[in-house]
């Protein structure tokens, strides 16, 4: 089976039928990752809780995966909680803290006390969780970012008080790739003696993950962004923190998250993290070059554009650009016609008509936020693909601008 999958290193060619510049939405699974996990579907299918050899085999495999990850993020085995997604990990981190206060308030028949602090460009997983906490009575404070997308540290320091239960600041932004200065944020939190969680889903493939260097108490990672399985995630949780579970049942995951372990998914997650660590430096360098090349091309060849988010403190694979006078969704669909898969910074195309809250939080005007496109490069990205994309992009933008009533004005 292994060999057969390895053969599928035709993978690269298969993937290449289209140019996939949406790696921040999700990545394909790497063949090495899949082949590591495959035996656990068919042959080593035991339930890790089963008290026989088939169960033991699965139990040991999970333990090894846990050890592997513990080494990578520099923590202890029991500090890793496997979950069913990045979103679940985020929810577990935040609500796991909140539920302790919720329990107490209910027992005492009183209203909620306490506040949570986050910032304005977080992923929906954090924002909607916070909104829910707000609804039930917690105070939620959103720290602002500057025009480059980086958090205003001073505001953070001022916001923390005695009633702060948790600070949650993402590692790298999913729309702009902008990287938050976690060590500095951690310093502030430590000074004020407040717990810090970071949603590191986007950072996990390319950035430092040593939780001691980053200074984190809780950290979320998922599989679907690091060439591993969708529906997998983990939460690093400092062993001194006890979280109230979201999902009750059997005594799995150190009683923090019940349910039969997703054995193949856990094996895959560990393998993917391991590979990403091995390739991190080289791949980051390669992509940074391609990214900067891409950005330069856009700036040179397409007039009236802007790159959104800090150009240095950003993921090596992220380009977020606004093309004045036209709508992101239209650009996206034109590129799609030519086999190029991208995303709008704006959420207009998905289930909401509002422009990207991330770009808006950076003070970018409404219509410019609506004009944005995110290109997120990946393992298989080549310079050739970028050149082709620039060509198609140029034509598409031109065509759309011709039919835009705004363009004539913007040009001036």
């Amino acid at each position: 089976m292994r060999k057969k999958i390895k053969q599928t290193n035709k993978w690269v060619n298969n993937v290449k039928k289209s140019i996939y510049f949406d790696n921040s939405a999700t990545t394909p699974v790497r063949p090495e990752v899949l082949s590591e996990a495959l035996p656990f579907f068919l042959k080593k299918y035991g339930n890790p809780s089963s008290f026989h050899s088939t169960g033991l085999e699965a139990k040991i495999a999970i333990k090894k995966a846990r050890q592997k990850i513990a080494k990578i993020i520099n923590c202890e085995e029991q500090e890793i909680i496997f979950t069913g997604s990045g979103t679940e990990s985020v929810n577990l981190a935040i609500k796991g803290i909140a539920l302790k206060e919720i329990k107490n308030a209910l027992k005492e028949g009183r209203k909620i006390k306490g506040n949570f602090i986050t910032q304005t460009t977080e992923h929906d997983a954090v924002i909607h969780t916070m909104n829910w906490l707000k609804e039930i009575g917690f105070e939620i404070k959103y720290i602002n970012v500057d025009e480059t997308g980086i958090i205003k540290l001073k505001e953070l320091g001022q916001a923390i008080n005695n009633e702060t239960l948790l600070v949650s600041i993402m590692y790298a932004n999913n729309e702009t790739g902008v990287i938050q200065p976690l060590p500095e944020i951690s310093k502030i939190c430590k000074q004020k003696n407040v717990l810090l969680h970071s949603d590191a889903c986007q950072g996990a493939e390319y950035l430092e993950l040593d939780i001691k260097k980053l200074g984190l108490d809780l950290m979320t990672i998922n599989g679907s962004k690091i060439y591993s399985f969708k529906g997998t995630g983990l939460l690093y949780k400092n062993k001194n923190i006890i979280l109230e579970p979201l999902i009750h049942g059997g005594n799995h995951e150190f009683k923090t998250r019940a349910g039969t372990e997703n054995v193949p998914g856990i094996i895959a997650l560990a393998k993917a993290l391991e590979l990403s660590r091995q390739e991190k430096n080289k791949e980051s360098k390669r992509l940074t070059k391609l990214r900067d090349y891409f950005i330069k091309k856009i700036e040179n060849e397409i007039p009236q554009t802007q790159i959104n988010g800090d150009k240095k403190q950003r993921l090596p694979n992220n380009i977020n650009a606004s093309f004045y006078g036209i709508e992101g969704e239209s650009i996206l669909l034109m590129l799609n016609e030519k086999g190029i898969r991208v995303s709008t910074g704006s959420a207009c195309s998905s289930q909401s008509l509002d422009p990207s809250h991330v770009l808006m939080a950076m003070g970018i005007k409404h219509e410019i936020a609506h004009s944005s496109i995110r290109f997120t490069l990946g393992k298989t990205t080549t310079k050739k693909e970028i050149d082709y994309t620039i060509k198609v992009l140029k034509e598409s933008v031109k065509k759309l601008r011709q039919m835009s009533p705004v363009w004539e004005e913007v040009k001036k």
Binding site: I326, L353, H370, M403
Partner: protein, 159 residues
């Protein structure tokens, strides 16, 4: 794939009109030809729509438009412009009867969230007809100043 267009991605017809929109105003010099002009805008979905019509004997015989809008806005307006001009023109009274729904039907449907886009061209058309009736011969200068809605971040982050 039956599901296409029904509840998510666009129908074939939408795609066609989006990729090759009909009756776009390509050259500002053309404007002189027209005797009715309408403009509506909704930056909430980044939509702005301008439409020019030429009316003769109470019939629309030509029509051009421009939009800062998404694919469904482009396709809807393109389709509307075809509906207005396809049979050697349409009576103003009939043009006024065209609804977003009629446009959508001709397009083979739009996703739920994009339905309002089909109304945009329709709205611009009404404005253009009103403008024609008010001021039969002169077309007002294009108003370049676009009013933008103030961003409301609060809708997402419940502070």
């Amino acid at each position: 794939m039956k599901m296409e267009g029904q509840d998510w991605f666009y129908s074939k017809k939408v795609k066609e009109h989006f990729l090759k929109p009909k009756n776009i105003l390509k050259n500002e010099k053309e404007i002189k030809k027209f005797n009715g002009y309408g403009k509506v805008g909704n930056m909430k979905c980044g939509d702005i729509m301008e439409m020019w019509i030429k009316v003769e004997n109470e019939k629309i015989i030509d029509c051009k438009w421009k939009t800062f809008g998404c694919a469904s806005a482009i396709a809807s307006t393109s389709m509307l412009s075809v509906m207005l001009t396809e049979k050697k023109g349409i009576k103003l009274t009939d043009a006024l009867k065209i609804t977003g729904n009629d446009i959508m039907k001709r397009l083979g449907g739009l996703p739920q969230i994009k339905i309002h886009c089909s109304v945009l061209g329709d709205q611009a058309l009404r404005e253009a007809i009103k403008n024609y009736e008010k001021n039969n011969s002169t077309i007002p200068k294009i108003d370049k100043k676009i009013k933008l809605n103030k961003p409301k971040l609060e809708t997402k982050l419940k502070k």
